[in-house]
Point group: C2
């Protein structure tokens, strides 16, 4: 199976590419270094060394013999994307090529516009390129659990049957997100659902929760194969940020009361889910949606877990409840269904002290790279 | 009240501007001539003479003394838009500045991308400009009934309470559109709803059905004040197209069985609804949604009405059921609520033989302009 990975330089893209290459799939990765450029411009560089994508593919080949083809270019450039799809003739496209940060999308008008146009144009282009060149190709799109927000009803996997005034119909589960970034993901869903119905595309939309961790079989082979790991307020997801804060002796910054509940997933499971989706494609004309999480935590619980493990490792970890820069409910109902991927075969890797211990160790090796001034950058929603 | 009308050169924008100017509102219109350029490029020029926007404002002033300020520029250019908003300091912005054609949005990749980027970027820019410059300003956004599609349940006005597994919450009514254009309108709704919640904007979203007619008090003053009237497959809405087909002796092209039911509204009422929305703004933090239609018809019923009136005027009107180029249900349940605007004071102008007669007369005066080859251009959804 030929798998084209768009956004292959990113936190998820690169370890996914390595893992799927190891499994024997033929892999091409595409990236325009958008995330690298944004992180450099905003001075929120990642923690680990990060050879460029061509170098990383070369290193992987030297170490494992596995080949990953690389193309540098922009998926919102249709000429580039169609040439790539035409040359590679993928059976599956995994679409990570989006601006993935909620705080970045709230920074200013320019960042909002970049997020909106990059995310939607790349998705539009993927749908068109598949229709024009490889109509049987399976598109795996990374969505987010954040599309649903925090409704007062149980969150189903993508769809809901609504009974209303004695009649009923099936609809996309209602979506109402907490940032512009998350809103662009809702808009992606609208877009793909339209083209699936119209052109009989095959699409899997993975509603993923925040991913944590960075240690996979392949990233552990050599530090130069580690993934794009941010720990700053802009691009660092919450658990990753907490671990680095603990190592830096910086208080864990919990927004508001910390009662915000979300579904989380280990990077290893995120990759496993993508492989399961790829090897079990939906039929033409189907938009298949999975909720890609394995367990739920409040932010407070995550902070307490990190504090416990940090203290065991000799750190004096403090938790600081800061004014919430986001507009969100801090105490709310949250009951998502997430059985679909486990029915396909996912064996969850739950968050344990041991997982955190091993992550701590690697972060400690790079502790001289930590810049504490990026933990709090003062980005506000309101 | 200062009202800024974005897309003021269009089918709705121009007559709305004239009517609101007559009522004593201070009006500025903005347009980048996108629709004019597309119609010229695709050779689907409008039926009536169309002096440019600055000329039309001058003619209106000569005839009525009413002043409309004009700025030519692109709302997806944020520098231009913010300068305009800063200079004019509107109390209300009416946002018509979108690519409005479903068939155009399905033409090819370039048209799809233009529709997506123009419509969403202009809406993003409007939200940002209001937040940064005139945070109390009321945004009136033209949505479409097409956002809802044709669900098997009653269509409420924008919102629905969902009962699910013993709990309940209120959500946007589920949306599932029949073209890329209509999908961008769903995406607009997502975007505005996010910024309303986050920034306490005041927004009215008008889910409008296809508008018909072109005779208003102001357009009847002088033919040079007539509106942008398309009758082609790309930009002509169904009833307008049927009337011109009848006058041209061309069969009325009904797609498929013609059982497609939609809500319709006379241009006069469309303008009245916008005035009602403007003079009754929602409170900050409210996304108020109205279904802007006054009655429902099947396409077949419209064709029969036009045939009846056409025959009375001596035309041998034929109805031709053509293969449906769209992907849509031709027989379906359709029961929308549309009481909100009538509760605000709208007195509906229903579709009568007399309304059609008067429209026919004016079309006949320009029958030498009709180009029959634009009735059917062969644009297909699939």
């Amino acid at each position: 199976m030929r798998i084209l990975i768009l956004g292959g330089d990113g936190y998820l893209g690169w370890p996914t590419a390595m893992a799927l290459s190891k499994k024997g799939f033929e892999i091409m990765v595409v990236d325009n270094y958008l995330r690298r450029n944004l992180c450099r411009n905003l001075n929120v560089e990642p923690l680990f060394p990060l050879p460029n994508l061509l170098e990383r593919a070369k290193i992987l080949k030297e170490i494992t013999g596995n080949c990953i083809s690389v193309r540098i270019g922009d998926c919102s450039n249709y000429t580039f994307l169609t040439k790539t799809v035409r040359d590679f003739q993928p059976d599956t496209i995994i679409h990570f090529a989006e601006q993935p940060s909620a705080p970045y999308s709230m920074l200013d008008h320019e960042a909002a516009l970049l997020t909106l146009s990059n995310n939607l144009e790349s998705t539009l282009n993927v749908a068109w390129a598949v229709r024009e060149i490889v109509p049987e190709c399976h598109i795996i799109k990374l969505g987010t659990m954040g599309e649903y927000g925090t409704p007062d009803i149980d969150i189903e996997e993508g769809w809901i049957e609504i009974q209303h005034k004695g009649r009923k119909d099936r609809f996309l589960f209602p979506r109402q997100a907490g940032s512009l970034y998350h809103t662009t993901k809702i808009q992606d869903t609208d877009l793909l659902w339209f083209y699936v119905r119209t052109w009989n595309l095959r699409v899997t939309d993975l509603m993923q929760g925040p991913v944590y961790g960075f240690l996979t079989k392949e990233t552990m082979l050599d530090d130069r194969l580690l993934t794009f790991f941010n720990y700053d307020e802009l691009f660092g997801t919450v658990l990753n940020r907490f671990m680095v804060q603990a190592v830096a002796g910086y208080p864990l910054t919990v927004y508001g009361s910390g009662g915000q509940t979300r579904g989380y997933i280990n990077l290893i499971d995120s990759i496993a889910c993508i492989e399961l989706a790829a090897t079990n494609p939906p039929k033409p004309g189907e938009l298949r949606i999975f909720n890609q999480i394995t367990e739920t935590f409040t932010v407070k619980q995550l902070a307490e877990l990190v504090r416990k493990v940090g203290r065991n490792r000799g750190y004096d970890v403090k938790i600081q409840n800061t004014k919430n820069p986001r507009i969100e409910r801090e105490e709310h109902y949250y009951n998502p269904v997430y059985s679909g991927l486990q029915e396909l075969g996912l064996k969850p890797t739950y968050l344990t002290d041991d997982t955190l211990q091993r992550a701590f160790k690697k972060i400690e090796e790079y502790s001289q790279n930590i810049k504490s001034d990026v933990f709090t950058l003062g980005i506000k929603w309101g």
